[in-house]
């Protein structure tokens, strides 16, 4: 900090003799900004009209602070919920809940027949994924898809939301039926990863439809009609599912850039 401003210079500044374009005014102003003592001395030096004007301005600022809009409250929770939630998923969550509940009732009533829950588990998250990342169900898709965070990061957030709905549901049902948890968990994760990988190339909704339809037609329907457990949902096929899930997840990470463009939203 420089030495305090001399009384003569301060008076010249206060009365306007030291103009704004005077080179001497610069160090005075620089000092005044940082020095409360000199600010107080300046207050004594300024002529009456200026003092009145400053007092008036002060009153106006205080009135504005009293009558103006109140400051916005902190909204951490609200913000957090917006960043994670995708509201379009809600109707789908209800449908999945009903489907899993129906499958559970069938399994409990006809315990001897092949498990409907295990046939449903792999495709349970696909509907949610299709809804969470689609042009049709996300009204703001065009605004969102051009932003920095759009892409695999945002898609994974929405995937987590979908899995948080699906997995506890399957866990509860599986526990009631006494099924090996890996039998529904691994296929479920493998299909999720497959949908994310394929979705980058042809669009999430299309990928979900293709995978879900394929599984239903090729595996689930024949199984339920012929009433025998296919080798795909037997404990001996679990290592295969694990390898598939990990490999597909890694490939998805490698192909993360695919989700940056509008094809992914088809």
């Amino acid at each position: 900090m420089t030495a305090h401003i001399s009384a003569a210079v301060l008076r010249a500044y206060a009365t306007g003799e030291l103009g704004a374009d005077d080179a001497m005014a610069w160090p005075v102003e620089a000092h005044l900004e940082a020095c409360p003592q000199c600010q107080e001395r300046l207050a004594d030096e300024v002529p009456g009209p200026v003092r009145d004007m400053v007092a008036e301005a002060r009153l106006a600022v205080l009135a504005q602070a009293r009558n103006g809009p109140p400051p916005v409250r902190r909204r951490r929770l609200r913000r957090l919920s917006h960043r994670w939630a995708s509201w379009s998923v809600l109707p789908w969550a209800l449908v999945t809940l009903l489907a899993v509940a129906a499958a559970f009732l069938l399994d409990e009533t006809f315990a001897a027949r092949s498990s409907v829950v295990l046939m449903l588990a792999p495709v349970a998250p696909l509907g949610g994924l299709a809804v969470a990342w689609s042009r049709r169900s996300d009204p703001a898709w065009e605004t969102v898809s051009g932003t920095a965070r759009a892409g695999l990061e945002l898609l994974l957030r929405r995937t987590v939301v979908v899995l948080v709905v699906v997995l506890p549901l399957l866990a509860a049902v599986g526990w009631r039926l006494g099924t090996n948890p890996a039998l529904w968990l691994l296929p479920c994760l493998a299909f999720t990863a497959a949908a994310l990988l394929l979705g980058g190339l042809i669009g999430m909704s299309r990928a979900a439809a293709l995978l879900g339809g394929g599984w239903m037609l090729a595996v689930a329907l024949p199984t339920l009609i012929a009433d025998r457990q296919p080798v795909l949902v037997q404990p001996q096929s679990l290592p295969g599912w694990a390898v598939a899930a990990v490999a597909l997840a890694l490939l998805t990470l490698l192909r993360a850039g695919d989700h940056r463009h509008h094809t992914s939203w088809k």
Partner: protein, 264 residues
């Protein structure tokens, strides 16, 4: 001592925020932008053209939503095909799409904050940036109203707020004046001039008078190609004695289109 990355040494301001050569962009199966050469500097550029001229497709390509089929496109000095720099590039863009979708349950503040977060505005700066953007479009009084309760013009303004919340260096506004009443349009033009001060703003519209009033530069697009580029005054001069329309600029616009189509 530390190593300096190539990214740090790259010039922070580019002579041409938008640089396109031989750009081809598809809309569905049709080539909506077909061999476009375009360089845009700072300022407000008005993009005019009849329906189906490829304005919206061009905007989408510039917003990096749609990947160009062919040709070169550099935005703010970065190639849009470069995956590594796409993310940082996107955080410097602002985009208001023509079909501006929104979440009806969000309030204006929620929505602008969410978009600020998506555009990677630093977390601590988000509330202030949001407030500033809302103030600039004149929605201060309605900041905590739900989006579904707003009128069409207010929604547009909320859309503009989300586009400018990150103080973008390249701002793309697709039909921003739809639904604004005359008073709001005048205010919007002032905002545009203010925005064009340091950054590059591209406004697509079919309202010729908006372009004349607020733009430093006029671009005319037809069938995916650039037909005319010049000052708003030139447009008015062309329409001084010829063409159809209510104002000189509108007549100039029709003259240009007619000349281009008869030549083709």
């Amino acid at each position: 001592m530390r190593a300096v990355s190539a990214d740090e040494l790259a010039p922070s301001t580019e002579a041409w925020p938008v640089q396109a050569t031989g750009l081809r962009v598809k809309a569905g199966s049709r080539l909506a932008v077909d061999g476009l050469d375009l360089t845009l500097g700072p300022g407000v550029h008005g993009l005019l053209g009849p329906n189906g001229a490829g304005k919206t497709t061009l905007m989408r390509a510039l917003a990096t939503v749609v990947r160009p089929e062919d040709g070169r496109l550099r935005l703010l000095g970065r190639d849009v095909r470069q995956r590594k720099t796409l993310r940082t590039l996107r955080s410097r863009l602002g985009y208001l799409p023509q079909q501006f979708g929104f979440y009806p349950k969000f309030t204006v503040r929620d929505y602008v904050e969410y978009m600020a977060w998506l555009r990677e505005v630093p977390t601590t700066a988000v509330p202030a940036a949001t407030q500033r953007a809302i103030d600039r479009v004149g929605l201060t009084g309605r900041a905590d109203s739900r989006l579904r309760s707003l009128s069409g013009g207010m929604l547009r303004r909320a859309g503009i707020a989300q586009a400018i919340v990150n103080e973008p260096e390249l701002l793309l506004l697709d039909e921003p004046t739809v639904g604004l009443d005359p008073g709001q349009r005048v205010e919007f033009r002032e905002l545009l001039r203010d925005l064009g001060d340091g950054s590059c703003v591209l406004v697509s519209t079919h309202l010729v008078e908006d372009v004349v009033a607020a733009c430093t530069n006029v671009l005319l697009l037809d069938e995916g190609r650039l037909v005319f580029r010049g000052l708003p005054g030139e447009l008015a001069r062309l329409g001084a004695s010829d063409g159809v329309g209510d104002s000189a600029a509108e007549r100039g616009y029709s003259v240009l289109l007619r000349e281009h189509r008869s030549a083709a």
